[in-house]
């Protein structure tokens, strides 16, 4: 066995040029694979992050049917009870929101928006809007002043500045139109331009007043889970503990099926990439291994005469292929680690295409991310492809008739 390893290893270096060509091709493919996986994973993590950070956390509790048809008539009725039950788990942070469609008016312009009432102190724990403020500040933690926070892009569109006033209008539960004037205290900018143009934030109680909710009512309770807490399991657990037929408890997967689908498609794209890259490599390997066995036909015959079994001949060639793949992987992997580490520090600036990406909720600067599970899957596939490629030459070599092989010069 160890002699086979020795022979396989040394055989690589008999024709160093050929081996280096193979190793280089593998390294390039491994590097391309790792780079693209890291970027795809980075992209989907950023998208998922923004879905979680901006649009409802890991889990959202609402009135039943709210997700399909978000109207103010569908709400969480006994908010105190829901809060009490959620608060039992220390690993969950949560905040209440009221949400309603409405109009925003400046002196010159009007626009349809989603008006969300939040408790600023709690909201910062579940949403990244507060962190995205680029001018002014978030809603004040205390007080009930008539404050509004909006996207910088919306302000631009309405032609209003920080500190100026806008009028918000919405229908209340009795279908009466309510309105109020609010001072702009903060402007934010997230990765998603669509989001920024449509979402404005008020203090929770003012929003309640606007739409006629009592302190016992809210549209949604947004939950943020500590890492390690599984959203799906937690949602199932809450379902039983909350035990209310009129509540809906949805994870981000359920709320964003499109995102989940896109994520799956990207993973599929990854698999295709591996298959395309390494099918090309596999043909190169088959080629050079067929050359190899014909060059070594006589010594294979000598080994066989001396008692090396056909399976050991195959093993020897497999080991050689594995060594070459390991070398290629090591070289490609090393380059990838260095470059990806660097890229994940500086990011890949896609601002030229940012408008398009932004509407997906992805950032204009993309950060690659190393997802070990995906990389492992890729490597398993690489090895399967390579071993399949070497199967033909290896089997061929092990089927040489010993006499013919010995007579071959």
């Amino acid at each position: 066995m160890s002699i086979l390893i020795k022979i396989a290893w040394r055989n690589i270096w008999r024709n160093p040029r050929r081996s280096w060509v193979l190793i280089t091709a593998l390294a390039v493919a491994v590097f391309s694979f790792l780079g693209s996986v890291a970027y795809i994973d980075g992209f989907s993590i950023q998208m998922i992050d923004s879905a979680i950070n901006l649009q409802g956390g890991h889990i959202q509790v609402s009135g039943r049917g709210y997700h399909k048809n978000p109207t103010i008539r569908t709400y969480v009725p006994d908010v105190a009870r829901v809060e009490r039950i959620i608060a039992e788990n220390d690993a969950i942070r949560y905040a209440l929101q009221t949400t309603t469609p409405g109009m925003i008016n400046s002196a010159e312009q009007a626009s349809g928006v989603v008006i969300t009432g939040v408790d600023p102190v709690r909201e910062v724990e579940v949403s990244s809007v507060a962190e995205s403020i680029i001018e002014g500040s978030y809603l004040a933690p205390e007080g009930e002043a008539n404050e509004v926070v909006m996207g910088a892009m919306l302000a631009e569109q309405l032609n209003v500045l920080l500190g100026e006033k806008v009028v918000l209008m919405a229908n209340d539960l009795d279908n009466e139109v309510g309105a109020g004037a609010y001072r702009i205290v903060g402007l934010y900018r997230t990765n998603s331009s669509d989001f920024d143009k449509t979402n404005v934030y008020l203090h929770l109680n003012q929003a309640r007043n606007l739409i006629g909710y009592t302190a016992e009512q809210a549209s949604t309770v947004t939950l943020r889970l500590d890492p390690g807490l599984d959203p799906v399991e937690t949602a199932i657990h809450l379902q039983t503990t909350l035990d209310a037929a009129d509540l809906e408890i949805l994870t981000w997967h359920e709320r964003s099926p499109l995102l989940v689908m896109m994520n799956e498609m990207m993973n599929l794209a990854n698999i295709f990439l591996v298959i395309i890259l390494f099918t090309a490599i596999a043909f190169t390997l088959i080629n050079s291994f067929i050359m190899v066995i014909f060059e070594r036909i006589r010594e294979i015959g000598i080994m066989s005469a001396n008692g090396v079994r056909p399976g050991q001949v195959r093993l020897m060639l497999y080991l050689e292929a594995v060594f070459i793949v390991l070398l290629g992987t090591a070289v490609g992997g090393a380059i990838a680690v260095v470059l990806i580490t660097w890229w994940s520090a500086v990011g890949l600036d896609l601002s030229a295409f940012a408008e398009g990406l932004s509407s997906f909720g992805a950032a204009s600067v993309l950060y690659p991310y190393i997802h070990w599970g995906h990389i492992l899957n890729g490597f398993v596939m690489i090895f399967v492809l390579v071993l399949l490629a070497v199967l033909y030459p290896a089997v061929k070599a092990s089927r040489f008739e010993t006499v013919d092989a010995i007579n071959h010069v």
């Binding site: 008999r14 001396n306 008692g307 090396v308 006499v403």
Partner: protein, 254 residues
């Protein structure tokens, strides 16, 4: 068989059947061996024609004959490297026809040693590694391997400083010595040597032959040579002459 020489007349009777071998069970027992090849035009070529051949343990036998007479074919069949068209080969009590490729490989590893005319060695292994190749396959521990190889190398007059060289850095004679060392070191029952001296100068050839004869006497390992080298025939204790795929003479000497 008009060309029988006088001195082999008595022995030639033996072509009718196996030689009596002092009541010992034969080590090699080939019966009615036929080997027919197809040449490039698919014309059948009869390399061996109903050959009966036996060898007792401890023999030092040369199979001679003109080129194309079937010497290599006979050795290959005895070594289980090739299958006969018909007839049977029993070596050390085992019917080779009944064995799978894997069983044959293991059988060769444990019972046979091969020496070919040239290019016997594995290019990427050093002289020492080549010599211990069979021991490695047998799983003999390192220190034993080393001891045995060193002893064999001394015996065969292989210079100590050559042991870490690869075959490409050895002369033809040195390579052949290493090949002999490999065949001998695992102490097989039977060594099959196909024209082992053909590529050597006569001095080297003679020295290696004496060495092998000496080993044969000391250890009782059976040697079967194919050759048309008179030096080999001189040293053989039994000389079998093949002609056109048949045993023409079979002569036991002192």
């Amino acid at each position: 068989m008009s060309d029988h020489s006088i001195e082999s007349r008595s022995a030639s009777l033996a072509t009718d059947g196996p030689k009596p071998i002092d009541g010992q069970a034969p080590l090699v027992e080939a019966t009615r061996l036929v080997k027919i090849y197809q040449d490039k035009e698919h014309v059948p070529v009869t390399a061996l024609n109903e050959v009966d051949f036996r060898a007792a343990p401890g023999e030092f036998t040369a199979i001679a004959g003109p080129s194309g007479s079937g010497k290599t074919t006979l050795l290959n069949l005895i070594g289980g490297l090739d299958k006969p068209t018909s007839g049977s080969v029993v070596v050390a009590g085992q019917d080779l026809a009944a064995m799978s490729r894997n069983q044959l490989a293991t059988f060769r590893l444990n019972n046979l040693g091969f020496i070919f005319q040239a290019y016997n060695l594995i290019p990427v292994l050093t002289a020492e590694e080549n010599a211990e190749f069979n021991l490695l396959l047998q799983g003999v521990p390192a220190h034993e391997r080393h001891e045995q190889v060193v002893r064999e190398f001394e015996d065969l007059g292989i210079d100590k400083e050559l042991i870490h060289r690869r075959p490409a850095k050895l002369s033809g004679g040195q390579q052949q010595r290493v090949a002999i060392a490999r065949a001998l070191v695992s102490r097989p029952k039977l060594i099959l040597a196909d024209e082992p001296t053909a590529n050597l100068d006569s001095k080297t050839g003679a020295r290696l032959l004496d060495k092998m004869r000496n080993l044969n006497e000391r250890t009782g390992i059976t040697f079967l040579f194919s050759t048309h080298d008179p030096m080999v025939m001189e040293r053989a204790r039994r000389l079998v002459i093949l002609r056109d795929g048949q045993i023409a003479e079979d002569d036991v000497r002192g």
